[in-house]
Structure formats: C-alpha cells, structure tokens
C-alpha cells in the first residue's frame, strides 16, 4: 500500500429524512487529497456538494440529515467515529472552513478583533494581550485587510462583503489548518473581489502547503484555482481527475455538456448548447444512471443500474457505461 493520504473519503453516504421520503444527498462519495492539493467540487444546485463538506466536518442539520455509511480518514483517524469533543478540536484548528455567506459565520455583536482572536485564545496560543493583538494583526495582514490596526474595534456590518469574507478566512487560518473547506466562498462577491480572494487562497496555499476543497458551480473558478476536480451529479461523483485533463477533454457526458453549455466570451453565437431537462428529483431518482434522461449518449443498459465510478486508462475516474464500453474495446 502507498502512504496514507492527508484526507481520504471512502464511500460516504449521507441521507436526508424528509416528510416526503429519504433523499440520498451523498450517495457513495470517495476521493483522496494530498498535502497542497486543491480540489474543486462542482455540480448543479442540489447535487450534494455542501452535504459532502458538512458530512466531513460533521456539521449536518440535525435530525434531518444523517451520515449512514463510509469513512473520512484524516491523518489516520476516522472523523466519523471521533468523540464530539475531539471533533471540535479538529474543526477550526486542523480543518478550517469558510461558508457561502460570510455574515452567517461572523457574529454581529462582537468586534472583528475579538472574533479573529477567538481561535488563538481557545488554543492558548497567545502569551498575553499584546501577543494576541500581534497575532490577530498578523493574520489580518495575511488576508490583506487594509490598515488592520484601525479595523480591530470595528463590527462586521462596517465591513464590505469582500472584507467580511477575508475576515472569515483569517479566522479559518488562525488555527493554521492542514485543510481548508470553502463552500462557495465567492458567490456573493463581485468578480473583481472574487479574483482578489481566489488569489489570496492560492497565495496562502503556496505559503503553507495547506490543502483546499473549494465548492463552486463555476468551472472557471476551478480552472484558475484547483489542480483536481470532482464533478457531482445527484449525490455521486461522476468524474474525478486532474483539472487540465478533465476541463480540456472531459470524458463523462455530463462534464462534457456542462462545458459546452457555457457562453464563450467574445464569440456571439446565436444558440448555446443546451442540456435538456432538469436535474432529477432526488426523492424519486431514476433507477439507472441519474443522468440518463438528459444524456445524449444514453443506451438501453443505462436505465438498469447506476454505473459505478471506475478508473479509466488515462488515470482519471468516471461513472459511465458508455465510457466503460469504450475502455474495453
């Protein structure tokens, strides 16, 4: 066996129990990350991206959602079986997190200085007040908050969206995590501020070797920020591989269709390639491949069973019968 990965997610299953039935929000997800890796988790709304992250961090909405199977190996330990007390140490210290809405992660009644200082205090990492202040200023500088001294006593509402998100990043980074999970951290930001933020993430990764899971539905962001990509559809990863490989020659019909449906700037085509239909209702998913009703390569066999994800000869993984058939030939 090769050396263990930094993070290894194995056959993760998280189900939501709703009045209308059971939703398999995460339905057998597996992937591994190494130090310094940056994984883009992409897919349409409802495909299970956030649920995957929240399962790893064990931050599921209770009692609606429950992880019913799989393992999340983090530095050799299975996070899914860790006592909650130890899990709390992992969260925010070993694994940092940034959520979509920065306002949700910041407490409106505490100052910025107070909130960024919290992880240091919890850890007892500061020797006295002035050392704490220095440490806080240092992380605020790392995330490029201008004149941080003046900002310490301000409240979140006095910050712009971009500054709030950078503050959340500062809090996540205060614990010097080995992995940062960022769930659509730039969706509420302008492209210019998004660009600043993504560059900041790359810069911090380069400096610290931290691994990153970046949830987004923008393939452009993945191309610019990540070295690996996992494409999710209806609770499963349908394609996983190196970013260059997947984005320049997609193999799964869904990945292919997603890329073709993007407007190409500067070329005013009349019609865009259009994926027919909508994502499946997860309360009543198709029996076979979940993409079958929308797939231009669908065959009769696709309706019978969900294709498992398999390694292709070029090293990437994909879950598609048409590809399997091609590989065999």
């Amino acid at each position: 066996m090769t050396q263990a990965s930094l993070l290894s997610v194995e056959d993760l299953r998280t189900y939501c129990y709703t009045r209308a039935g059971v939703v398999k929000a995460v339905d057998g997800v597996s992937f591994a990350l190494e130090r310094g890796d940056s994984l883009g988790l992409v897919g349409e709304s409802g495909s299970g991206k956030s649920m995957t992250c929240n399962s790893i961090l064990r931050l599921l909405p209770r009692p609606a959602a429950r992880t019913v199977g799989g393992r999340v190996l983090w530095e050799g330990r299975d996070l899914l079986t860790l006592p909650e007390r130890e899990m709390r140490r992992v969260r925010g210290r070993e694994i940092g997190m940034i959520l979509q809405d920065p306002l949700m992660s910041l407490n409106p009644v505490f100052t910025i200085g107070n909130q960024v200082g919290e992880p240091f205090r919890l850890r007892g990492a500061a020797k006295g007040r002035s050392d704490l202040r220095e440490k806080v200023l240092d992380v605020l500088r790392q995330v490029h908050i201008p004149s941080p001294e003046a900002r310490l006593s301000q409240y979140p509402f006095e910050f712009s969206g971009g500054m709030r998100q950078r503050t959340v990043a500062a809090i996540a980074l205060a614990g010097s995590p080995g992995l940062l999970i960022a769930d659509e951290p730039t969706t509420s930001l302008d492209v210019t501020i998004q660009d600043q933020f993504l560059r900041l993430l790359r810069e911090l990764q380069e400096k610290t070797g931290m691994a990153l899971i970046l949830v987004t539905h923008d393939l452009g962001i993945v191309a610019e920020t990540c070295n690996k990509v996992a494409v999710m559809y209806a609770g499963k990863i349908v394609e996983f591989g190196d970013v260059r490989q997947v984005l320049t020659s997609p193999s799964h019909p869904y990945t292919e269709a997603l890329l073709k449906a993007l407007p190409v700037p500067g070329t005013r085509q009349r019609r865009l390639y259009q994926i027919p239909g909508e994502p499946p209702n997860l309360l009543d998913p198709p029996a076979g491949c979940a993409f079958e009703p929308r797939c231009h390569r669908a065959m009769q066999a696709c309706r019978n069973a969900r294709p498992p994800i398999k390694k292709l000869s070029d090293g990437r993984q994909a879950a598609c019968l048409a590809l399997e058939a091609r590989e065999v030939r």
Partner: protein
C-alpha cells in the same frame, strides 16, 4: 434600425430633498446614476456591466418607470416617459416589461402560475382599450406557457412548487404576455445553474428572433453579456465609463476599468495564466465620489491629471466612447492612427 430608447444625461440622486430617507437636508447626495446618455437600436440587445453598486439596477428601474430620475430625460419610441398621462402610462406598460434575478421574489407566492401570468392581461383588460374575455385570457396564458417551454400542468402550481429555472420561465411568460417591444432584464440568469442558464438564454434569443424584441440586459457576468448583447455599456460609480460594440470591446477594451473586469473574469481554461495583478481595492461609496476620475483610486494607469479632472465620455471612433484621460492624450491619437493605417 431606428432608436427605440434614448437616455439623455439621466441622473438619480438620492437624499437630496430634505426629509428624504436620510433625514434632514444639507446632506451630500448619493449619486446612484450620475449622468447617463446612450441610445438603444430597436431590435438589438444592449448589455450593462459593472460591479455591484455601480448603478445598473437603479438605471433599470428608471427605464421601467419604477423610479423617477432627478435629472435628464428618457425617451421611448419618441415619447418622453417622464411626461406620460394615465393613458400614456398604460401604453408604456404594454411596451416595456421587466424580468428580475430573483424570480421567487417577484412571483406572488399565494397565486397560482396561471393567475401570475394572466395578471398583466387582466389589469390591462380592465384599463386598456382591448378587453379580453376569460376564455381568451386562458388561451393566451396557455400559449405563452407553451412558448416558454412549460408543460400545461404547471398552471395550477404555486411558485414554490417549481424549480429556479421554471420560475424564471414563468417570469418571462408574465413579462411577454402583453406582447411588449422591449424587456429590461436585471441579472435574469445569475441565480441559475449552468445547464438551466443556457436554456433560458436560448429562450430569450428565440423570442428576440420571433418578435424582434429589444433587450436591455443588466449583468455582472461578462461572459453572459458577451453572448447576448451587441452593444455594451460598462458602468462605474454611476457613470458609463466605456460603451460600444460588444465584440469590439471584447477584442480590445480601452478603459482601465473594463480591462480590469476582463482580467478578473474566470475562464474554464486551465492553461490560461493570469499574469497581471487583480484590480486593487473596492468600488467606493456613491455618497463620496472621488474628485477627478472616479476610478482613479483603483487605477494602475493613473496620471497626475486624473485626480483633478473628471474625464468626459468622448468618442474614440468606430462607435466607441470612453471616459478616460488616456484616450484624449496625444499618445492615443497616434495609436489609433497607427492602428487605422495597418488595417
């Protein structure tokens, strides 16, 4: 193609009257739109880009008559829309309709889809000259839902029972039911997933082909605007800083702000290297617009003159107008000359 809409030095300042929302007079005005002039050709698609807070939506609301300008004039089909009587107002509402980003916010959650789409017709049937009967209205609604690609059965649904893409189709059906000549679309696909976004953009382009509609589309997404619009205006802090043919601007942006927006745009090309630094700082407050060029505090090409003199939007040839001192200096005249001779 004639002009369908023209804006002449349109301004929308907030809080200038005492007792306004900011309370008390004597306060500085918030200049949400600060002198916009352009015209839109009938049957074309006009795109408006810019960061949030640049005044795009405020301008859209002025055009929709959901808000009144504090200066300047807007003419639609030759009529000053600031001077419409009740009958003119009803006329305008049949000509110009809106689609907003958040379909769930603009669709009444207590109404069935059929009623939502029929409502403009019913209001118009009460006030307008061409009254329609119940059966005719129902037929029209069915026809419109079919045109936007929704099955008949959604008529009895409520908005929350539909997906985001379906709700946006309902919003488009409602906007189209009075057969307008122009749609103002404020971030119509920003909340939609890629696969659904392509469907809605195709639907809009089909409608344009079929009915010769004019679109004014507001978006912060340059890729979408590049696909949809033939003319493009880039706004910054209430001003249009660059305007011209979309393809020309994509091929060669002239204003430093437009260039920065393009640099920031993420492209799904893993081989593209971003070498130039990103745009620094943030869009300032419309309450406190910098002296001179309003983009100066963030501009990496700023010159001494920029912090003193507010650059005017000047014609630089080929239908392009740019508000930047770089475009009026001698070096630029030379550059255009060289470009012209090499072509």
């Amino acid at each position: 193609m004639g002009t369908i809409l023209e804006l002449r030095n349109v301004k929308r300042y907030f809080g200038i009257r005492s007792g306004g929302w900011m309370g008390g007079g004597g306060e500085k005005p918030l200049k949400a739109v600060d002198g916009a002039s352009f015209s839109i050709a009938s049957g074309s698609s006009f795109g408006v880009a810019g960061e949030s807070g640049s005044g795009k939506s405020t301008m859209g609301k002025l055009i929709l008559r959901l808000d009144r300008p504090t200066g300047g004039a807007i003419e639609f089909e030759g009529r000053d829309i600031g001077k419409l009587d009740a009958e003119g107002d009803a006329w305008y509402r049949t000509r110009v309709q809106a689609v907003f980003q958040d379909a769930s916010g603009s669709l009444d959650p207590r109404m069935r889809i059929s009623a939502i789409v029929a409502e403009p017709l019913e209001i118009h049937a009460r006030t307008g000259p061409n009254r329609l009967g119940k059966i005719e209205i129902r037929e029209k609604v069915e026809d419109m839902l079919a045109q936007v690609g929704l099955p008949k059965r959604v008529m009895d649904n409520y908005p929350h029972e539909l997906s985001g893409g379906q709700k946006q189709r309902v919003a488009i059906a409602r906007a189209m039911i009075l057969e307008p000549t122009m749609l103002v679309l404020d971030e119509p696909v920003s909340a939609l997933d890629v696969s659904i976004r392509a469907q809605v953009l195709n639907l809009l382009s089909d409608f344009q082909d079929r009915y010769g509609l004019t679109y004014l589309m507001i978006s912060h997404d340059l890729a979408t605007l590049g696909h949809v619009s033939s003319q493009l205006a880039v706004m910054y802090l209430g001003r249009i800083v660059e305007i011209g043919g979309t393809e020309d601007i994509y091929a060669r942006a002239l204003h430093p702000y437009t260039k920065a927006l393009f640099r920031a745009m993420p492209l799904p090309d893993p081989n593209r290297k971003k070498s130039a630094p990103s745009l620094r700082g943030e869009i300032g407050s419309a309450l406190d617009i910098p002296k001179g060029c309003r983009f100066c505090p963030r501009c990496d090409e700023a010159m001494p003159v920029c912090s003193d003199v507010d650059p005017e939007l000047v014609d630089v040839g080929a239908g392009r107008r740019v508000a930047c001192h770089l475009m009026s200096g001698p070096q630029f005249t030379k550059a255009t000359h060289q470009r012209g001779s090499s072509e």
